[in-house]
Symmetry: C3
Subunit: 216 residues, 3 copies
Amino acid sequence: MASLNSIFSIFTPKNKIFYGFFEALADKIIVMSTRLKEMVSETDLDKHREILKAIENLEHECDHITHTIFTELGRNFITPFDREDIHYLGSAMDDVADYIYSSAKKITAYRINTNEEGVNRLADLILQGSEAMRDAVYALREMKDMRKITESLVRINAVENEGDDMFDTSIDRLFEIENDYKMLIKRRELYQSLETATDKLEDVANVVESIVIKYA
Amino acid sequence: MASLNSIFSIFTPKNKIFYGFFEALADKIIVMSTRLKEMVSETDLDKHREILKAIENLEHECDHITHTIFTELGRNFITPFDREDIHYLGSAMDDVADYIYSSAKKITAYRINTNEEGVNRLADLILQGSEAMRDAVYALREMKDMRKITESLVRINAVENEGDDMFDTSIDRLFEIENDYKMLIKRRELYQSLETATDKLEDVANVVESIVIKYA
Amino acid sequence: MASLNSIFSIFTPKNKIFYGFFEALADKIIVMSTRLKEMVSETDLDKHREILKAIENLEHECDHITHTIFTELGRNFITPFDREDIHYLGSAMDDVADYIYSSAKKITAYRINTNEEGVNRLADLILQGSEAMRDAVYALREMKDMRKITESLVRINAVENEGDDMFDTSIDRLFEIENDYKMLIKRRELYQSLETATDKLEDVANVVESIVIKYA
């Protein structure tokens, strides 16, 4: 007996499967951002380890989806938008997941005290940006509500700008107040990883914009 | 009454507009490199802040032009050379601008004493490489003077090679003489940012070369 | 009288030359990895300098081959597989060579004591990954033995995964035991460079996989 999955796929034109992959990636990234925000508001190391494990599993699932996007791209002759755009969008979304995971790993391995404005604000921004990214990615399927897509991209750009400023402020302050060189190096790595996650969200916004321009 | 701009654009075939964008980017990068060189020869913090503000504005203008290149790429079906090459050239030139701005920001925020050989030589090299880049980019429009383009690309490669050596020497010396760990980390970041600017100039040279090979 | 080389090239269809370039790159990277492994098992500085010189020469040869790949790509209208894949494969292989060279340069310039588990294990992994990369690249020419290609790609992925873990363990241990901040920064740079070499090997595996999917 055919599985539900294969029955479903009979009714899904081959070139439509990409939307589902991007939507699944967006959903997982939202969960990862939510867990990261939860992690930075916690101080208990066991709780950090537990959340890290969950984020790690989600990151592996994202890797798996991205890999499937790339292999399906080789198998499908017809794609809903330019092959390079599908490749770039998959890569950029996977990079967002990578930097969220990398940030969570640093917090846990380095036992960083996250009770500090910069870390919390950057984790907030990553969640906000991920939500805007999800809205933009889900809107690609119908490609109708241009106002909504544009508004989501503007939100992501605002997140990236504020991320840059928060990063600069945090690093300046870190050099001022941190007098343990090991902790200074560790915290600087964390800020960079968090800020790079917001950069990668902007990369996603740029790919979505270029898709919209060509196909709308 | 139509503006001068729109009258001008009537007479500009749509696929020719890209040359103007790349030339405008090249011009702005020359000004940025010139201001950076001025900054490193200065020691006054107020002057640094004033120059940083000017470089920041130029960097925003470069962002705006690059963004326009990408959106026009979505709208134009006919382009003067391969779409990917236009995309790569815009990205690489924008990266040069980003690293000049990032270097200026570090000098100012970290109050780095720039009265030192490595910083001055790297700023010189960025200006020389930017001038060679401008010559190469302006020569793309007519694609006639191949000797001139080749000579510009050779100059950029020489700049990148000397940049690498200057970077290695500066880092070795930094580890030898700098005994304040905060300043060591800050100066290392600055050298990396300056050296990356010369790497990005080489990326521009590589794209120009691949365009020339295909279309000459 | 025509040289052997030009007689050979008469019988080589223009679109077949790319295989030879990739095979030559793979061979040189194997030698570089072997020399790097030799370097980390040595403690004598003169020996380090001698090996570095050899690795530097090989890196320049890789640069030259990669540059030839890109220029031939502009000249050849027919290619054995997608132009972008040839470009990506050349870039990724050149990046592997760059990070091996960069690691050897850091060991020598920073006089790093390489008698340590992390450095040795990462150098081992780079050699193992390079061997698997060579097997995969040589199999592209006939594109017959799919089992062999797949098995090589699996080996590269295992190398990258173990590289990640070894890197995390090494950095944690470094922060624990290293109390000279200069040496901490230097060793951290070395671990990053070694680990990035394994990442670039994975990039090669990803390009090979996407070529295989499309053309097998």
